[in-house]
Amino acid sequence: MLTLLGLAWRNLRSAALRTGLNSFALSLGFVMIIFGQGLLEGVNRQAERMAVDYDVGGGQFWQENYDPYDYSTLIRAHAPVPAGFQPLIERGEAVPILVVPGTVRSAVGLMPVVLKGIVPGQQVVKIPSAGLDSGNGLLPVVVGLRMAQMLGVSAGDTVQIQLQGPEAQTVEVKGRVAAVMRTPVTTVDEGQLWLPLDRLAELAGLAGQATLLTVRPGYPRNKLPAAPGWIFQSPAVLLSDLRQMIGTKTVGQSVFFVVLFLLALLAIFDTQVFSIFRRRREIGTLVALGMTRGQVVVLFTLEGALYGVLAALLGAVYGLPLFVYLNRHGISFPGGSSWGFALEERMYPVYSSGLVIGTTLLVLIAAAFVAWLPARRIARLKPTDALRGRWG
Protein backbone atom coordinates (compact mmCIF):
# COMPACT_ATOMS: atom_id res chain seq x y z
CA MET A 1 0.00 0.00 0.00
CA LEU A 2 2.88 2.38 0.79
CA THR A 3 4.33 1.68 -2.65
CA LEU A 4 1.00 2.53 -4.24
CA LEU A 5 0.70 5.65 -2.11
CA GLY A 6 4.20 6.72 -3.11
CA LEU A 7 3.44 6.14 -6.78
CA ALA A 8 0.15 8.01 -6.50
CA TRP A 9 1.93 10.94 -4.89
CA ARG A 10 4.59 10.97 -7.59
CA ASN A 11 1.92 10.92 -10.29
CA LEU A 12 0.24 13.93 -8.73
CA ARG A 13 3.54 15.76 -8.32
CA SER A 14 4.40 15.18 -11.94
CA ALA A 15 1.22 17.04 -12.95
CA ALA A 16 1.76 19.84 -10.47
CA LEU A 17 -0.40 22.47 -12.20
CA ARG A 18 -3.39 20.18 -12.67
CA THR A 19 -2.99 18.85 -9.15
CA GLY A 20 -2.78 22.37 -7.77
CA LEU A 21 -5.89 23.57 -9.60
CA ASN A 22 -7.96 20.53 -8.66
CA SER A 23 -6.87 20.71 -5.05
CA PHE A 24 -7.59 24.43 -4.88
CA ALA A 25 -11.06 23.97 -6.40
CA LEU A 26 -11.83 21.22 -3.92
CA SER A 27 -10.40 23.22 -1.04
CA LEU A 28 -12.73 26.10 -1.93
CA GLY A 29 -15.68 23.78 -1.63
CA PHE A 30 -14.23 22.42 1.60
CA VAL A 31 -13.69 25.85 3.16
CA MET A 32 -17.04 27.15 1.92
CA ILE A 33 -18.87 24.21 3.47
CA ILE A 34 -17.21 24.80 6.83
CA PHE A 35 -17.73 28.56 6.53
CA GLY A 36 -21.39 28.15 5.59
CA GLN A 37 -22.17 25.50 8.15
CA GLY A 38 -20.35 27.51 10.84
CA LEU A 39 -22.35 30.57 9.90
CA LEU A 40 -25.62 28.65 10.01
CA GLU A 41 -24.65 27.14 13.36
CA GLY A 42 -23.91 30.68 14.58
CA VAL A 43 -27.32 31.84 13.31
CA ASN A 44 -28.95 28.87 14.96
CA ARG A 45 -27.33 29.45 18.33
CA GLN A 46 -27.84 33.21 18.27
CA ALA A 47 -31.49 32.95 17.28
CA GLU A 48 -32.12 30.44 20.05
CA ARG A 49 -30.24 32.51 22.61
CA MET A 50 -32.24 35.61 21.65
CA ALA A 51 -35.51 33.70 21.84
CA VAL A 52 -34.57 32.33 25.27
CA ASP A 53 -33.46 35.72 26.59
CA TYR A 54 -36.51 37.68 25.41
CA ASP A 55 -39.33 35.21 25.32
CA VAL A 56 -38.91 31.53 26.11
CA GLY A 57 -36.78 31.79 29.25
CA GLY A 58 -36.25 28.46 30.99
CA GLY A 59 -39.70 27.33 29.89
CA GLN A 60 -43.24 28.55 30.47
CA PHE A 61 -46.31 27.39 32.31
CA TRP A 62 -49.35 27.99 30.13
CA GLN A 63 -52.85 28.32 31.44
CA GLU A 64 -54.60 25.36 29.89
CA ASN A 65 -56.78 27.46 27.53
CA TYR A 66 -53.86 29.41 26.12
CA ASP A 67 -53.03 28.85 22.49
CA PRO A 68 -50.70 31.52 21.08
CA TYR A 69 -51.71 30.55 17.56
CA ASP A 70 -55.45 31.06 18.21
CA TYR A 71 -56.28 34.72 18.94
CA SER A 72 -59.81 33.77 19.95
CA THR A 73 -58.57 31.75 22.95
CA LEU A 74 -57.01 34.81 24.56
CA ILE A 75 -60.30 36.04 26.00
CA ARG A 76 -60.51 32.99 28.29
CA ALA A 77 -56.86 32.03 28.63
CA HIS A 78 -56.28 33.25 32.15
CA ALA A 79 -56.59 32.02 35.70
CA PRO A 80 -55.47 33.05 39.18
CA VAL A 81 -51.77 32.52 39.65
CA PRO A 82 -51.47 29.27 41.66
CA ALA A 83 -50.09 29.60 45.16
CA GLY A 84 -47.37 27.11 44.27
CA PHE A 85 -45.91 29.64 41.83
CA GLN A 86 -45.68 32.45 44.36
CA PRO A 87 -42.29 31.50 45.88
CA LEU A 88 -40.78 31.42 42.41
CA ILE A 89 -42.24 34.82 41.56
CA GLU A 90 -41.14 36.33 44.87
CA ARG A 91 -37.58 35.09 44.41
CA GLY A 92 -37.49 36.54 40.92
CA GLU A 93 -37.18 33.08 39.39
CA ALA A 94 -40.35 33.47 37.34
CA VAL A 95 -42.59 36.21 36.06
CA PRO A 96 -46.37 36.02 35.42
CA ILE A 97 -47.65 37.47 32.16
CA LEU A 98 -51.27 38.27 31.41
CA VAL A 99 -52.27 38.13 27.77
CA VAL A 100 -55.54 39.70 26.58
CA PRO A 101 -56.79 40.77 23.18
CA GLY A 102 -57.23 44.44 22.43
CA THR A 103 -56.95 47.17 19.84
CA VAL A 104 -54.76 50.21 19.61
CA ARG A 105 -55.36 53.45 17.79
CA SER A 106 -52.51 55.69 16.76
CA ALA A 107 -52.00 58.36 14.14
CA VAL A 108 -51.68 55.55 11.61
CA GLY A 109 -55.03 53.96 12.41
CA LEU A 110 -56.71 51.19 14.38
CA MET A 111 -54.99 47.84 14.80
CA PRO A 112 -55.81 44.62 16.69
CA VAL A 113 -53.07 43.80 19.16
CA VAL A 114 -52.15 41.44 21.94
CA LEU A 115 -51.84 43.24 25.25
CA LYS A 116 -49.29 41.69 27.55
CA GLY A 117 -49.06 42.59 31.20
CA ILE A 118 -45.73 42.03 32.91
CA VAL A 119 -44.30 42.95 36.28
CA PRO A 120 -42.37 46.25 35.96
CA GLY A 121 -38.65 45.85 36.62
CA GLN A 122 -38.65 42.05 36.37
CA GLN A 123 -35.33 40.42 35.41
CA VAL A 124 -36.53 37.04 34.16
CA VAL A 125 -36.73 38.03 30.50
CA LYS A 126 -35.07 40.93 28.69
CA ILE A 127 -38.25 42.93 28.12
CA PRO A 128 -37.31 46.46 29.33
CA SER A 129 -40.15 46.48 31.83
CA ALA A 130 -38.50 49.11 34.01
CA GLY A 131 -40.11 51.66 31.67
CA LEU A 132 -43.52 50.45 32.82
CA ASP A 133 -43.02 52.20 36.14
CA SER A 134 -43.39 55.60 34.46
CA GLY A 135 -46.17 56.98 32.29
CA ASN A 136 -46.76 60.41 33.81
CA GLY A 137 -50.28 59.51 34.79
CA LEU A 138 -51.07 57.78 31.54
CA LEU A 139 -50.87 54.01 31.09
CA PRO A 140 -47.18 53.27 30.37
CA VAL A 141 -46.60 51.17 27.29
CA VAL A 142 -43.43 49.45 26.01
CA VAL A 143 -43.34 48.45 22.36
CA GLY A 144 -40.76 46.87 20.14
CA LEU A 145 -39.16 48.83 17.33
CA ARG A 146 -41.11 47.04 14.62
CA MET A 147 -44.40 47.66 16.43
CA ALA A 148 -43.47 51.31 16.94
CA GLN A 149 -42.84 51.63 13.21
CA MET A 150 -46.16 49.95 12.44
CA LEU A 151 -47.97 52.36 14.75
CA GLY A 152 -45.88 55.32 13.68
CA VAL A 153 -45.01 56.17 17.27
CA SER A 154 -41.87 56.81 19.26
CA ALA A 155 -41.11 57.21 22.96
CA GLY A 156 -43.38 59.82 24.57
CA ASP A 157 -46.16 59.53 22.00
CA THR A 158 -49.65 58.59 23.10
CA VAL A 159 -51.92 55.84 21.84
CA GLN A 160 -55.52 54.91 22.51
CA ILE A 161 -55.95 51.35 23.81
CA GLN A 162 -59.22 49.41 23.90
CA LEU A 163 -59.90 46.11 25.61
CA GLN A 164 -62.76 44.13 27.11
CA GLY A 165 -63.56 45.19 30.68
CA PRO A 166 -64.81 43.17 33.69
CA GLU A 167 -68.44 43.36 32.57
CA ALA A 168 -67.61 42.55 28.95
CA GLN A 169 -67.84 46.25 28.19
CA THR A 170 -65.24 48.02 26.08
CA VAL A 171 -62.69 49.85 28.16
CA GLU A 172 -60.75 52.62 26.54
CA VAL A 173 -57.60 54.03 28.05
CA LYS A 174 -54.91 56.42 26.90
CA GLY A 175 -51.36 55.16 27.00
CA ARG A 176 -47.97 56.78 26.60
CA VAL A 177 -45.08 55.00 24.94
CA ALA A 178 -42.59 54.80 27.80
CA ALA A 179 -39.89 52.95 25.85
CA VAL A 180 -39.21 51.48 22.44
CA MET A 181 -37.16 48.33 22.78
CA ARG A 182 -34.66 47.24 20.16
CA THR A 183 -35.12 43.54 20.12
CA PRO A 184 -34.36 41.13 17.33
CA VAL A 185 -37.09 38.79 18.65
CA THR A 186 -40.25 39.39 16.66
CA THR A 187 -42.40 37.23 18.97
CA VAL A 188 -42.22 39.89 21.68
CA ASP A 189 -42.47 42.78 19.26
CA GLU A 190 -44.85 42.60 16.32
CA GLY A 191 -48.55 43.09 17.16
CA GLN A 192 -47.90 43.47 20.90
CA LEU A 193 -48.06 46.13 23.58
CA TRP A 194 -46.37 45.54 26.94
CA LEU A 195 -48.19 47.04 29.91
CA PRO A 196 -47.80 46.92 33.70
CA LEU A 197 -49.35 43.62 34.87
CA ASP A 198 -51.44 45.11 37.70
CA ARG A 199 -52.84 47.91 35.54
CA LEU A 200 -53.81 45.57 32.73
CA ALA A 201 -55.37 43.08 35.18
CA GLU A 202 -57.33 45.88 36.77
CA LEU A 203 -58.63 47.19 33.43
CA ALA A 204 -59.60 43.68 32.32
CA GLY A 205 -61.05 42.71 35.68
CA LEU A 206 -58.53 39.91 36.02
CA ALA A 207 -56.70 40.92 39.21
CA GLY A 208 -54.30 38.27 40.45
CA GLN A 209 -54.61 36.33 37.21
CA ALA A 210 -52.11 35.43 34.50
CA THR A 211 -51.98 33.60 31.19
CA LEU A 212 -48.50 32.26 31.43
CA LEU A 213 -45.56 32.14 33.76
CA THR A 214 -42.10 32.43 32.29
CA VAL A 215 -39.30 30.79 34.29
CA ARG A 216 -35.77 32.20 34.50
CA PRO A 217 -33.39 30.65 31.92
CA GLY A 218 -31.37 27.88 33.49
CA TYR A 219 -33.75 27.25 36.37
CA PRO A 220 -33.63 23.52 37.18
CA ARG A 221 -36.64 21.81 35.73
CA ASN A 222 -36.87 19.23 38.51
CA LYS A 223 -37.46 22.01 41.01
CA LEU A 224 -40.43 23.45 39.19
CA PRO A 225 -43.77 23.11 40.99
CA ALA A 226 -46.79 21.50 39.40
CA ALA A 227 -50.14 23.25 39.27
CA PRO A 228 -53.48 21.89 38.04
CA GLY A 229 -54.71 23.69 34.93
CA TRP A 230 -51.22 24.94 34.06
CA ILE A 231 -49.14 23.07 31.54
CA PHE A 232 -45.35 23.35 31.45
CA GLN A 233 -43.87 24.00 28.04
CA SER A 234 -40.16 23.19 27.97
CA PRO A 235 -37.68 25.38 26.06
CA ALA A 236 -37.32 22.56 23.52
CA VAL A 237 -41.06 22.66 22.80
CA LEU A 238 -41.18 26.44 22.69
CA LEU A 239 -38.17 26.58 20.34
CA SER A 240 -39.39 23.84 18.03
CA ASP A 241 -41.02 26.25 15.56
CA LEU A 242 -37.90 28.40 15.51
CA ARG A 243 -35.72 25.36 14.92
CA GLN A 244 -37.98 24.22 12.12
CA MET A 245 -37.78 27.64 10.52
CA ILE A 246 -33.98 27.70 10.87
CA GLY A 247 -33.86 24.21 9.40
CA THR A 248 -35.81 25.34 6.36
CA LYS A 249 -33.51 28.33 5.93
CA THR A 250 -30.35 26.28 6.36
CA VAL A 251 -31.42 23.74 3.75
CA GLY A 252 -31.78 26.55 1.24
CA GLN A 253 -28.45 28.09 2.20
CA SER A 254 -26.69 24.71 2.16
CA VAL A 255 -27.67 24.07 -1.45
CA PHE A 256 -25.19 26.70 -2.61
CA PHE A 257 -22.32 25.11 -0.71
CA VAL A 258 -23.26 21.63 -1.84
CA VAL A 259 -23.33 22.73 -5.48
CA LEU A 260 -19.89 24.31 -5.10
CA PHE A 261 -18.58 21.12 -3.54
CA LEU A 262 -20.09 18.96 -6.26
CA LEU A 263 -18.45 21.11 -8.93
CA ALA A 264 -15.09 20.57 -7.28
CA LEU A 265 -15.73 16.82 -7.18
CA LEU A 266 -16.72 16.92 -10.83
CA ALA A 267 -13.30 18.41 -11.60
CA ILE A 268 -11.64 15.44 -9.91
CA PHE A 269 -13.92 13.02 -11.72
CA ASP A 270 -13.08 14.59 -15.09
CA THR A 271 -9.38 14.54 -14.30
CA GLN A 272 -9.58 10.87 -13.37
CA VAL A 273 -11.48 9.90 -16.51
CA PHE A 274 -8.97 11.75 -18.66
CA SER A 275 -6.04 10.38 -16.68
CA ILE A 276 -7.17 6.75 -16.96
CA PHE A 277 -7.83 7.13 -20.68
CA ARG A 278 -4.46 8.79 -21.30
CA ARG A 279 -2.51 6.32 -19.16
CA ARG A 280 -3.82 3.04 -20.58
CA ARG A 281 -0.33 1.94 -21.64
CA GLU A 282 0.98 2.72 -18.16
CA ILE A 283 -1.83 0.63 -16.66
CA GLY A 284 -0.80 -2.29 -18.87
CA THR A 285 2.83 -1.85 -17.85
CA LEU A 286 1.97 -1.85 -14.15
CA VAL A 287 0.08 -5.12 -14.62
CA ALA A 288 2.99 -6.59 -16.59
CA LEU A 289 5.37 -5.61 -13.82
CA GLY A 290 3.37 -7.65 -11.36
CA MET A 291 0.49 -5.53 -10.08
CA THR A 292 -3.02 -6.92 -10.09
CA ARG A 293 -5.71 -4.85 -11.76
CA GLY A 294 -7.23 -4.39 -8.32
CA GLN A 295 -4.00 -2.78 -7.14
CA VAL A 296 -4.07 -0.44 -10.15
CA VAL A 297 -7.65 0.53 -9.25
CA VAL A 298 -6.42 1.28 -5.73
CA LEU A 299 -3.57 3.35 -7.17
CA PHE A 300 -5.90 5.58 -9.18
CA THR A 301 -8.32 5.82 -6.26
CA LEU A 302 -5.45 6.88 -4.00
CA GLU A 303 -4.58 9.62 -6.45
CA GLY A 304 -8.11 10.97 -6.09
CA ALA A 305 -8.03 10.60 -2.32
CA LEU A 306 -4.77 12.54 -2.27
CA TYR A 307 -6.59 15.42 -3.96
CA GLY A 308 -8.81 15.39 -0.90
CA VAL A 309 -5.81 15.42 1.45
CA LEU A 310 -4.18 18.26 -0.47
CA ALA A 311 -7.47 20.18 -0.50
CA ALA A 312 -7.79 19.74 3.27
CA LEU A 313 -4.22 20.96 3.82
CA LEU A 314 -4.62 23.86 1.40
CA GLY A 315 -7.98 24.72 2.94
CA ALA A 316 -6.38 24.72 6.39
CA VAL A 317 -3.71 27.19 5.23
CA TYR A 318 -6.18 29.92 4.29
CA GLY A 319 -9.31 28.65 6.01
CA LEU A 320 -8.07 28.40 9.58
CA PRO A 321 -6.93 32.05 9.89
CA LEU A 322 -10.19 33.12 8.25
CA PHE A 323 -12.30 31.07 10.65
CA VAL A 324 -10.37 32.25 13.71
CA TYR A 325 -10.81 35.87 12.60
CA LEU A 326 -14.53 35.48 11.92
CA ASN A 327 -15.06 33.66 15.18
CA ARG A 328 -13.45 36.51 17.11
CA HIS A 329 -14.70 39.51 15.17
CA GLY A 330 -17.94 38.24 13.68
CA ILE A 331 -19.55 39.18 10.41
CA SER A 332 -21.73 42.21 9.78
CA PHE A 333 -25.22 40.87 9.20
CA PRO A 334 -27.49 43.87 8.50
CA GLY A 335 -30.11 41.79 6.68
CA GLY A 336 -30.60 39.40 9.56
CA SER A 337 -34.10 40.58 10.42
CA SER A 338 -35.31 39.53 6.99
CA TRP A 339 -34.66 35.91 7.91
CA GLY A 340 -37.91 35.84 9.91
CA PHE A 341 -36.35 35.12 13.28
CA ALA A 342 -34.22 36.89 15.82
CA LEU A 343 -30.74 37.84 14.66
CA GLU A 344 -28.37 40.54 15.78
CA GLU A 345 -26.58 42.74 13.31
CA ARG A 346 -23.27 41.00 13.97
CA MET A 347 -23.04 37.29 13.50
CA TYR A 348 -20.43 35.09 15.15
CA PRO A 349 -19.98 31.83 13.25
CA VAL A 350 -19.42 28.72 15.34
CA TYR A 351 -16.80 26.30 14.04
CA SER A 352 -16.93 23.19 16.15
CA SER A 353 -14.29 20.48 15.97
CA GLY A 354 -17.06 18.10 14.92
CA LEU A 355 -17.88 20.32 11.94
CA VAL A 356 -14.23 20.61 10.85
CA ILE A 357 -13.42 16.91 11.34
CA GLY A 358 -16.72 15.82 9.78
CA THR A 359 -16.25 18.04 6.74
CA THR A 360 -12.63 16.91 6.33
CA LEU A 361 -13.74 13.28 6.37
CA LEU A 362 -16.51 14.12 3.93
CA VAL A 363 -14.01 15.71 1.53
CA LEU A 364 -11.61 12.76 1.79
CA ILE A 365 -14.29 10.14 1.31
CA ALA A 366 -16.04 12.03 -1.48
CA ALA A 367 -12.76 12.64 -3.34
CA ALA A 368 -11.79 8.97 -3.03
CA PHE A 369 -15.26 7.92 -4.17
CA VAL A 370 -15.32 10.07 -7.31
CA ALA A 371 -11.80 8.88 -8.09
CA TRP A 372 -12.87 5.27 -7.64
CA LEU A 373 -15.91 5.56 -9.92
CA PRO A 374 -13.97 5.86 -13.21
CA ALA A 375 -11.10 3.71 -11.87
CA ARG A 376 -13.45 0.72 -11.66
CA ARG A 377 -13.15 0.42 -15.43
CA ILE A 378 -9.52 -0.58 -15.04
CA ALA A 379 -10.67 -3.84 -13.45
CA ARG A 380 -12.35 -4.73 -16.76
CA LEU A 381 -9.46 -3.56 -18.94
CA LYS A 382 -7.47 -6.39 -20.54
CA PRO A 383 -3.73 -5.88 -19.91
CA THR A 384 -2.94 -6.80 -23.50
CA ASP A 385 -5.27 -4.08 -24.76
CA ALA A 386 -3.89 -1.61 -22.25
CA LEU A 387 -0.31 -2.30 -23.37
CA ARG A 388 -1.33 -1.47 -26.93
CA GLY A 389 -2.98 1.74 -25.72
CA ARG A 390 -6.43 0.39 -26.50
CA TRP A 391 -9.51 0.53 -24.31
CA GLY A 392 -10.74 -3.00 -25.01
Partner: protein, 234 residues
Protein backbone atom coordinates in the same frame (compact mmCIF):
# COMPACT_ATOMS: atom_id res chain seq x y z
CA UNK B 1 11.76 -28.75 -31.22
CA UNK B 2 14.34 -29.08 -28.48
CA UNK B 3 14.23 -32.04 -26.16
CA UNK B 4 15.65 -30.88 -22.87
CA UNK B 5 15.34 -32.57 -19.46
CA UNK B 6 12.20 -31.46 -17.56
CA UNK B 7 14.11 -29.80 -14.71
CA UNK B 8 15.41 -27.31 -17.26
CA UNK B 9 11.99 -26.63 -18.70
CA UNK B 10 10.88 -23.04 -18.29
CA UNK B 11 7.92 -22.82 -20.66
CA UNK B 12 5.83 -25.49 -22.33
CA UNK B 13 2.87 -24.86 -24.59
CA UNK B 14 0.64 -27.71 -25.74
CA UNK B 15 -1.73 -27.32 -28.69
CA UNK B 16 -2.18 -23.67 -27.88
CA UNK B 17 -5.12 -21.99 -29.57
CA UNK B 18 -6.15 -18.35 -29.21
CA UNK B 19 -9.29 -17.01 -30.78
CA UNK B 20 -10.44 -13.38 -30.78
CA UNK B 21 -14.07 -12.58 -31.47
CA UNK B 22 -14.40 -10.13 -34.38
CA UNK B 23 -18.08 -9.32 -34.52
CA UNK B 24 -19.86 -12.46 -35.75
CA UNK B 25 -16.60 -13.98 -36.94
CA UNK B 26 -13.50 -14.84 -35.00
CA UNK B 27 -9.82 -14.39 -35.63
CA UNK B 28 -7.68 -17.38 -34.73
CA UNK B 29 -4.27 -15.98 -33.78
CA UNK B 30 -2.70 -19.25 -32.63
CA UNK B 31 -3.65 -22.60 -34.15
CA UNK B 32 -2.27 -25.42 -32.01
CA UNK B 33 1.18 -24.15 -31.03
CA UNK B 34 3.27 -26.66 -29.08
CA UNK B 35 6.69 -25.46 -27.92
CA UNK B 36 9.16 -25.97 -25.10
CA UNK B 37 11.66 -23.40 -23.87
CA UNK B 38 14.48 -24.37 -21.55
CA UNK B 39 16.59 -22.57 -19.01
CA UNK B 40 19.21 -20.29 -20.52
CA UNK B 41 17.75 -20.21 -24.03
CA UNK B 42 18.20 -17.12 -26.20
CA UNK B 43 15.39 -17.76 -28.60
CA UNK B 44 12.93 -15.84 -30.70
CA UNK B 45 9.54 -16.20 -32.26
CA UNK B 46 9.83 -14.70 -35.70
CA UNK B 47 7.34 -14.04 -38.43
CA UNK B 48 5.43 -11.33 -40.20
CA UNK B 49 2.92 -9.00 -38.50
CA UNK B 50 -0.26 -10.86 -37.53
CA UNK B 51 1.44 -14.25 -37.32
CA UNK B 52 0.64 -14.54 -33.60
CA UNK B 53 4.06 -13.69 -32.09
CA UNK B 54 2.84 -11.12 -29.57
CA UNK B 55 -0.19 -13.22 -28.68
CA UNK B 56 2.10 -16.13 -27.84
CA UNK B 57 4.36 -13.95 -25.70
CA UNK B 58 1.36 -12.44 -23.90
CA UNK B 59 0.04 -15.89 -23.00
CA UNK B 60 3.47 -17.07 -21.84
CA UNK B 61 3.74 -13.86 -19.83
CA UNK B 62 0.37 -14.60 -18.14
CA UNK B 63 -1.10 -11.37 -19.52
CA UNK B 64 -3.61 -13.38 -21.52
CA UNK B 65 -5.10 -16.86 -21.39
CA UNK B 66 -5.44 -19.40 -24.22
CA UNK B 67 -8.80 -20.30 -25.74
CA UNK B 68 -7.75 -23.93 -25.62
CA UNK B 69 -4.62 -25.92 -25.08
CA UNK B 70 -2.30 -25.52 -22.14
CA UNK B 71 0.66 -23.38 -21.08
CA UNK B 72 3.00 -24.17 -18.23
CA UNK B 73 5.37 -21.46 -17.12
CA UNK B 74 7.88 -22.32 -14.40
CA UNK B 75 5.70 -25.21 -13.35
CA UNK B 76 2.49 -23.14 -13.16
CA UNK B 77 -0.43 -23.83 -15.49
CA UNK B 78 -1.26 -20.36 -16.80
CA UNK B 79 -4.89 -20.96 -17.65
CA UNK B 80 -5.60 -22.10 -14.10
CA UNK B 81 -3.90 -19.21 -12.35
CA UNK B 82 -5.99 -16.66 -10.48
CA UNK B 83 -5.29 -13.01 -11.41
CA UNK B 84 -3.41 -12.57 -8.12
CA UNK B 85 -1.32 -15.72 -8.67
CA UNK B 86 -0.55 -14.65 -12.23
CA UNK B 87 0.51 -11.22 -10.92
CA UNK B 88 2.79 -12.93 -8.37
CA UNK B 89 4.37 -15.08 -11.09
CA UNK B 90 5.03 -12.03 -13.26
CA UNK B 91 6.26 -10.02 -10.32
CA UNK B 92 8.79 -12.66 -9.19
CA UNK B 93 9.88 -14.58 -12.25
CA UNK B 94 9.05 -12.80 -15.51
CA UNK B 95 10.58 -9.66 -16.95
CA UNK B 96 9.10 -7.76 -19.89
CA UNK B 97 10.79 -5.59 -22.49
CA UNK B 98 8.40 -3.74 -24.79
CA UNK B 99 8.75 -2.18 -28.21
CA UNK B 100 7.72 1.22 -26.83
CA UNK B 101 9.83 0.89 -23.65
CA UNK B 102 6.79 1.55 -21.41
CA UNK B 103 8.75 3.33 -18.71
CA UNK B 104 6.74 5.12 -16.04
CA UNK B 105 7.14 8.75 -17.10
CA UNK B 106 7.02 10.28 -13.61
CA UNK B 107 9.85 8.06 -12.37
CA UNK B 108 13.56 8.54 -12.86
CA UNK B 109 15.60 5.77 -14.44
CA UNK B 110 16.57 4.63 -10.95
CA UNK B 111 12.95 4.61 -9.77
CA UNK B 112 11.76 2.76 -12.86
CA UNK B 113 14.29 0.02 -12.26
CA UNK B 114 13.50 0.00 -8.55
CA UNK B 115 9.75 -0.40 -9.07
CA UNK B 116 9.62 -4.22 -9.52
CA UNK B 117 11.65 -4.60 -6.33
CA UNK B 118 9.20 -2.38 -4.44
CA UNK B 119 6.40 -4.70 -5.56
CA UNK B 120 8.43 -7.60 -4.17
CA UNK B 121 8.70 -5.80 -0.84
CA UNK B 122 12.51 -5.86 -0.89
CA UNK B 123 14.43 -3.89 1.73
CA UNK B 124 15.87 -0.47 0.84
CA UNK B 125 19.54 -1.45 1.05
CA UNK B 126 19.21 -4.55 -1.11
CA UNK B 127 17.05 -2.58 -3.54
CA UNK B 128 19.68 0.08 -3.94
CA UNK B 129 22.43 -2.49 -4.49
CA UNK B 130 20.44 -4.34 -7.13
CA UNK B 131 19.21 -1.22 -8.93
CA UNK B 132 22.71 0.22 -9.24
CA UNK B 133 24.02 -3.17 -10.41
CA UNK B 134 21.28 -3.37 -13.05
CA UNK B 135 21.97 0.14 -14.27
CA UNK B 136 25.66 -0.70 -14.49
CA UNK B 137 24.86 -3.82 -16.56
CA UNK B 138 23.20 -1.60 -19.12
CA UNK B 139 25.78 1.20 -18.80
CA UNK B 140 23.42 3.82 -17.40
CA UNK B 141 24.53 4.22 -13.79
CA UNK B 142 25.41 7.83 -14.51
CA UNK B 143 21.87 8.52 -15.80
CA UNK B 144 20.11 7.13 -12.73
CA UNK B 145 18.41 10.42 -11.92
CA UNK B 146 17.21 11.18 -15.43
CA UNK B 147 13.56 10.87 -16.32
CA UNK B 148 12.50 8.98 -19.46
CA UNK B 149 11.81 12.26 -21.26
CA UNK B 150 15.48 13.19 -20.77
CA UNK B 151 16.78 9.90 -22.24
CA UNK B 152 17.24 8.80 -25.84
CA UNK B 153 15.27 5.87 -27.26
CA UNK B 154 18.25 3.54 -26.85
CA UNK B 155 18.79 4.67 -23.26
CA UNK B 156 15.10 4.19 -22.48
CA UNK B 157 15.22 0.64 -23.79
CA UNK B 158 18.34 -0.04 -21.72
CA UNK B 159 16.50 1.21 -18.64
CA UNK B 160 13.62 -1.10 -19.60
CA UNK B 161 16.08 -4.01 -19.83
CA UNK B 162 17.52 -3.10 -16.43
CA UNK B 163 13.96 -3.01 -15.05
CA UNK B 164 13.26 -6.45 -16.51
CA UNK B 165 16.54 -7.89 -15.19
CA UNK B 166 16.78 -6.26 -11.76
CA UNK B 167 14.81 -8.97 -10.01
CA UNK B 168 16.94 -11.60 -11.80
CA UNK B 169 13.94 -13.34 -13.32
CA UNK B 170 14.01 -16.82 -14.81
CA UNK B 171 12.38 -15.56 -17.99
CA UNK B 172 12.50 -12.34 -19.99
CA UNK B 173 9.95 -11.75 -22.74
CA UNK B 174 11.01 -9.10 -25.24
CA UNK B 175 8.37 -7.99 -27.71
CA UNK B 176 10.01 -6.29 -30.72
CA UNK B 177 12.61 -4.63 -28.46
CA UNK B 178 14.51 -2.98 -31.30
CA UNK B 179 11.58 -1.80 -33.40
CA UNK B 180 11.98 1.81 -32.29
CA UNK B 181 15.77 1.90 -32.28
CA UNK B 182 18.40 2.63 -34.87
CA UNK B 183 20.94 -0.02 -35.90
CA UNK B 184 23.68 1.04 -33.49
CA UNK B 185 21.36 1.12 -30.50
CA UNK B 186 19.76 -2.16 -31.59
CA UNK B 187 23.13 -3.92 -31.58
CA UNK B 188 24.02 -2.36 -28.25
CA UNK B 189 20.75 -3.54 -26.71
CA UNK B 190 21.09 -7.05 -28.14
CA UNK B 191 24.70 -7.37 -26.97
CA UNK B 192 23.60 -6.31 -23.51
CA UNK B 193 20.84 -8.91 -23.47
CA UNK B 194 23.15 -11.59 -24.80
CA UNK B 195 25.68 -10.79 -22.08
CA UNK B 196 23.00 -10.99 -19.38
CA UNK B 197 21.79 -14.29 -20.81
CA UNK B 198 25.28 -15.73 -20.68
CA UNK B 199 26.25 -14.32 -17.28
CA UNK B 200 22.98 -14.86 -15.42
CA UNK B 201 21.54 -17.80 -17.33
CA UNK B 202 18.26 -15.98 -17.86
CA UNK B 203 15.97 -17.37 -20.55
CA UNK B 204 15.13 -14.82 -23.23
CA UNK B 205 12.24 -15.20 -25.64
CA UNK B 206 11.96 -12.53 -28.30
CA UNK B 207 9.17 -11.70 -30.64
CA UNK B 208 10.59 -10.05 -33.74
CA UNK B 209 10.76 -9.73 -37.46
CA UNK B 210 13.95 -7.65 -37.31
CA UNK B 211 16.89 -9.31 -39.07
CA UNK B 212 19.32 -7.68 -36.64
CA UNK B 213 17.64 -9.49 -33.75
CA UNK B 214 17.31 -12.73 -35.66
CA UNK B 215 21.08 -12.70 -36.20
CA UNK B 216 21.67 -12.85 -32.45
CA UNK B 217 19.20 -15.66 -31.69
CA UNK B 218 20.43 -19.15 -30.96
CA UNK B 219 16.99 -20.58 -31.62
CA UNK B 220 14.45 -19.27 -34.11
CA UNK B 221 10.83 -20.34 -34.15
CA UNK B 222 9.04 -19.21 -37.28
CA UNK B 223 5.33 -18.61 -36.89
CA UNK B 224 3.19 -18.36 -39.99
CA UNK B 225 -0.52 -17.75 -39.72
CA UNK B 226 -0.62 -18.92 -36.09
CA UNK B 227 1.27 -22.16 -36.69
CA UNK B 228 4.90 -23.15 -36.07
CA UNK B 229 6.39 -23.34 -39.55
CA UNK B 230 10.00 -23.91 -38.49
CA UNK B 231 12.04 -24.32 -35.29
CA UNK B 232 15.77 -23.95 -35.92
CA UNK B 233 18.72 -23.96 -33.56
CA UNK B 234 22.20 -22.67 -34.22
Amino acid sequence: MLNMPDNNLIVETVELVKRYPMGRQELVALKGVSLRFCRGEFSGVIGPSGSGKTTLLNIIGTLDVPSSGSVRVLGETVERLSPAAAARLRSRHIGFVFQTFNLLPVYTAYENVEFPLLLLGMGAQERRRRVMAALEWVGLADRANSRPAQLSGGECQRVAIARAMVKEPALVLADEPTANLDAENSHHILETMQKLNQELGTTFIFSTHDDKVIGYLRRRIRLVDGRVAADETG
